[in-house]
């Protein structure tokens, strides 16, 4: 992405770049979402992107397509059907044994072929290890623009271009980036940033197949083995309904117990802001924020978190945000739903008691 201190093209004199698209590129139409799957299941981020892609496609008056690549067989075709459920009008399908496991070379070639043939104007991928791997090399192959970790996507109808917004300057500000003279315009989006759409299981679409034309000996990297993670105790922050998170305001590591205790009472997942992860108080898996996880729980309780933008972008889509902070000027109170100015050391234990009482009442009632 460009350095933010670059002036917008319109303001630059002399060598400024034109905002007119090369006529060949004007023919590029359509919004594509790369449908990522691993070990037989689609990554939810792909659905989130289809939901977002549907809006963009409707604005532009074009079709939304899913891009599915994998081993030949029913499972891969099922992925196409799911893409239709989530809003795709059509799917581009590349089936080939060499695509069974993800490898950069064949996937990049498949995607390049598709894009060269069918010419989409927008291509979106999830910012997963696969998505970033693929997007980075693909964007360089086609020498087009890629905006990573976008938090918002819009269409600038003046020139039918994608306006991709992402945090910058260490997360304090936002910047909107456009790729004016190249196609396709690419964006990666982290899981949970966009809302998960409701599937419509009655929806259907058409499949367009494409032959890859690579054989195994063409491909340099071989997959020797896949070692799945042991799923022991892995925090499931991304899909948690209630999250209690702690921040720097807790001051000492012993105080993080308050967060854990409240989470235990609420049956909630435990989260933390980046400084706590960097200080080693909590595992990286629990980091919420721009460089951690994006979460969308029903209830997010932030304790001792100032609400700086790096953290905010990771949790501001929560349905209800409660902030507890002893600084009345903390930025978190600007966007939380409820705020308590007070010392966590007294407020949180009181909350634990209050919730316990509430649950007891509910049990007696129900």
């Amino acid at each position: 992405m460009s350095e933010p201190q670059a002036a917008p093209a319109a303001k630059r004199g002399g060598n400024h770049r034109k905002m007119e698209l090369d006529p060949r590129l004007q023919a590029y139409r359509g919004v594509w979402v790369f449908v990522e799957h691993e070990r037989g299941a689609i990554q939810p981020v792909s659905w989130e992107l289809l939901g977002e892609g549907r809006k963009l496609a409707d604005q532009l008056g074009v079709e939304l397509a899913g891009v599915v690549m994998g081993a030949p067989g029913e499972a891969t075709r099922q992925f196409c059907r799911e893409a239709f459920h989530y809003g795709a009008d059509l799917c581009y399908l590349v089936e080939d044994p060499v695509l069974t496991d993800y490898r950069n070379q064949p996937y990049t070639k498949a995607l390049t072929d598709l894009v060269d043939t069918f010419q989409p104007e927008i291509l979106m991928l999830g910012a997963t290890t696969l998505g970033r791997d693929l997007a980075g090399s693909f964007a360089t192959t086609l020498k087009t623009g890629l905006t990573a970790d976008c938090t918002e996507l819009n269409i600038d109808m003046d020139n039918r271009s994608l306006a991709a917004t992402r945090p910058t300057f260490g997360g304090r500000l936002l910047c909107t980036i456009q790729t004016l003279n190249y196609r396709p315009q690419m964006a990666t989006v982290r899981p949970r940033v966009m809302a998960l759409p409701q599937p419509d299981r009655t929806r259907d679409g058409r499949i367009i197949e494409h032959r890859l034309g690579l054989i195994e000996t063409d491909i340099i990297t071989k997959v020797l083995e896949y070692i799945p993670d042991a799923n022991v105790d892995k925090p499931q922050l991304a899909f948690a309904d209630v999250i209690v998170a702690g921040g720097r305001g807790l001051k000492r590591q012993e105080n993080f117990k308050l967060v854990e205790d409240l989470a235990a009472v609420l049956g909630a997942e435990v989260g933390a802001s980046r400084p706590l992860v960097q200080a080693g108080w909590v595992d990286l898996e629990r980091q919420v924020g721009q460089s951690g996880k994006t979460v969308r729980p029903k209830l997010y309780i932030a304790i001792g978190i100032s609400g700086a933008i790096q953290h905010r972008v990771g949790m501001e889509s929560s349905d209800v945000i409660v902030a507890i902070n002893n600084d009345p000027q903390a930025p978190i109170f600007d966007f939380a739903h409820y705020g308590i100015v007070g010392n966590a050391m007294t407020v949180v234990p009181a909350l634990i008691d209050a919730f316990r009482q509430q649950f007891a009442v509910m049990r007696r009632a129900g």
């Binding site: 691993e38 910047c175 209630v242 409660v322 009482q357 049990r363």
Partner: protein
């Protein structure tokens, strides 16, 4: 064996102090550091050097002050350091950066063939993770990202076996040399430099390359001119139209505040109420 590690000097966001009263973030006077993700790449390269012997070169594209980052790498044990610096690189986005670095790497390769190019996973000030893949594509190198370990190098047969992180597990891959690896974070701890290496770093005569010395003749690919993305605007996030409803007042006791909040949550948010009911039931 010859490994080149591409590193970047970035502002140290972790060193930012917080004002004890207002809790605002003090950004002024923040020192520049080696991008923390790059340290893992440097350390991994040095470990391979310990194992297979050979040379580790560090390369960075940046302004003159990036020299400090390169010296740091020398102090850890890197053999040579090259600073690619030129006014023309200003405003470069990742595409332009990968172009410049690829050109420099090609030059380096002419002097001493490269077996592996390492980069960190991403930078803390850019976060895009695109430069590594960009370099690989331009140089025709196999790309392996999110690598947690180099299991083995076979320099005779020109093969490398590495482990790569996927969403739910680890891929063990075998590929051909030369290749480009972006290193996952947390896989090692960079060594504490010895005094001897500190002296070496302080005395080291840094190689400084301009764009011509890197073999870049066409300026349209570098700097601002080479970037297909344009920043349309930079802005502060829109404040939510409604500030939080503050529970209680300064005089309220913690108990009052707590009961007040819990009651409100249940009363005003039916989906939270049912969520609480579920939890209450589970605790029965």
């Amino acid at each position: 064996m010859h490994i080149v590690v591409c590193i970047k000097q970035v502002p140290d966001s972790a060193q930012i102090r917080v004002h004890p009263v207002s809790n605002t973030i003090m950004r002024q006077g923040v020192p520049a550091i080696v991008n923390p993700y790059d340290l893992y790449a440097i350390e991994e390269a040095l470990r391979l050097k310990d194992r297979y012997h050979g040379q580790v070169t560090v390369l960075s594209m940046g302004p003159p002050q990036a020299e400090a980052a390169l010296r740091k790498a020398i102090s850890f044990g890197a053999d040579e350091a090259i600073l690619l610096t030129d006014r023309a690189f200003a405003g470069a986005d990742t595409l332009a950066t990968s172009y410049a670095l690829a050109a420099a790497l090609t030059r380096i390769n002419e002097e001493l063939p490269i077996d592996l190019v390492f980069t960190g996973k991403q930078t803390i000030d850019g976060d895009t993770a695109q430069v590594g893949p960009g370099i690989a594509k331009r140089m025709g190198l196999e790309l392996l990202t999110y690598v947690s370990q180099i299991d083995e190098l076979d320099l005779e047969r020109r093969e490398a076996t590495v482990r790569r992180r996927a969403e739910g597990g680890v891929q063990v891959l075998k590929t051909r040399l030369p290749c480009l690896v972006t290193m996952l974070e947390g896989i090692n701890e960079v060594r504490f430099a010895t005094m001897t290496n500190m002296f070496r770093a302080a005395r080291y005569e840094l190689k400084v390359w301009s764009k011509e010395m890197a073999g870049i003749t066409d300026p349209s690919f570098i700097g601002l001119k080479g970037s297909p993305t344009v920043v349309a605007k930079v802005f502060a996030p829109q404040p939510r139209s409604q500030r939080a409803e503050m529970i209680g007042s300064e005089a309220s006791s913690a108990q009052d505040l707590a009961i007040n909040l819990v009651t409100k949550l249940s009363a005003k948010h039916p989906n939270l109420e049912s969520e609480f009911a579920k939890t209450a039931g589970a605790r029965a």
